[in-house]
Amino acid sequence: MRLAPPQKSPAARTEQIILFRASTQIFAMSSASVQEVRSVDSLSGVAVAITEATLPKVQHAIRRGDRNLYVVNAAVHFGLRPSPAALVFLLRKSRVALLVDGIEKMMTMSRLQALPGAFCHEERAWYRGLTVLDQNVIPVVNPLGFLTSEQIALLDALSGSRSFTESAGAAAADISV
């Protein structure tokens, strides 16, 4: 049996991606998924500490308009050793803000390969697939994979019960890891 090369479509579409660092690893995310990039410092006055034992990756929330965004620590989400985070990605059409160590660079992805079927646990929700850039394999993050709707509902209930907006000033916390 020959290992057939992957099929190529005649008209390759490309996608702008952001390569970012979390702990020691590099991940990619479509730039279209990121609405805003903020420094951690710029959010330190508006973030509120939040604690849910089953979700250690979420330790802060940010009030935006009439709803909360939940700050997910990317390193903890991916099971990596937490490291000092410097940036927050506010994701487009999402209740998630992603805490990352830094941006490596912006690149163009021309091909996304499916995650091989041998990967059979949480990573199937974490990643859209894999891409090869400069002879490196980079996982392409699924922006919908950070919090499930049930987890968001749980966090909403938690923050709602603490009259979030009123206590925001008193409970304002610096975002850190």
Binding site: M1, R2, L3, P5, P6, K8, S9, A12, R13, T14, E15, Q25, F27, S30, F78, G79, L80, M109, S110, R111, L112, Q113, A114, P116, G117, A118, F119, C120, H121, E122, E123, R124, W126, R128, G129, L130, V132, Q135, N136, V137, I138, P139, N142
Partner: protein, 155 residues
């Protein structure tokens, strides 16, 4: 009647994992590749060490030695790249092996009910009885329904 339901002469690839030899039917084997760089990224499937790049394809590396022999491979020389059916498509895995592989023809005896799930059959070769591996049982696999088509797949 499937090929495993009766003794049948088949082409098999013999592979070595430490001190033991196993076999895969040759139609599951794509190639034997030299060691190459393993790319590691965060995941939760402990059987997978990482992935290698082979002819532009990302192939997961699955070390089955500990599962089959009780010992991890301390020395590896090649990757045996094998294919398994996964839903409607073929899925490739790279199995680290410790020696050169050998293509043989042998009568395959189907596995019995009491055999371990990883045994698809048996062959006798040079006085040695060798397990023919059931690749599906020995490597991890997501259920096909969890494998969604690529959203906004490029290319």
């Amino acid at each position: 009647m499937s090929w495993m339901e009766q003794s049948d002469t088949r082409s098999c690839v013999l592979l070595r994992l430490g001190e033991r030899r196993f076999a895969l039917t040759a139609d599951q084997v794509a190639e034997l590749a030299a060691p190459s760089r393993i790319f590691r990224f965060a995941h939760r499937t402990p059987e997978i060490e990482g992935v290698i790049l082979r002819r532009g394809r990302v192939v997961p590396v699955c070390d089955v030695a500990e599962q089959l022999t009780g010992k991890r491979l301390t020395q590896r020389r090649f990757y045996l790249i094998a294919a398994r059916r996964h839903g409607n498509s073929l899925d490739w895995v790279a199995l680290p092996v410790t020696g050169e592989c050998e293509l043989i023809h042998a009568d395959v005896t189907p596995a019995g009910r009491t055999d371990a799930p990883h045994v698809a059959g048996w062959i006798s070769y040079n006085g040695e009885v060798i397990e023919v591996l059931n690749l599906q049982a020995v490597t991890p696999s997501a259920s096909p329904e969890t494998i969604a088509p690529l959203p906004e797949a490029t290319a």
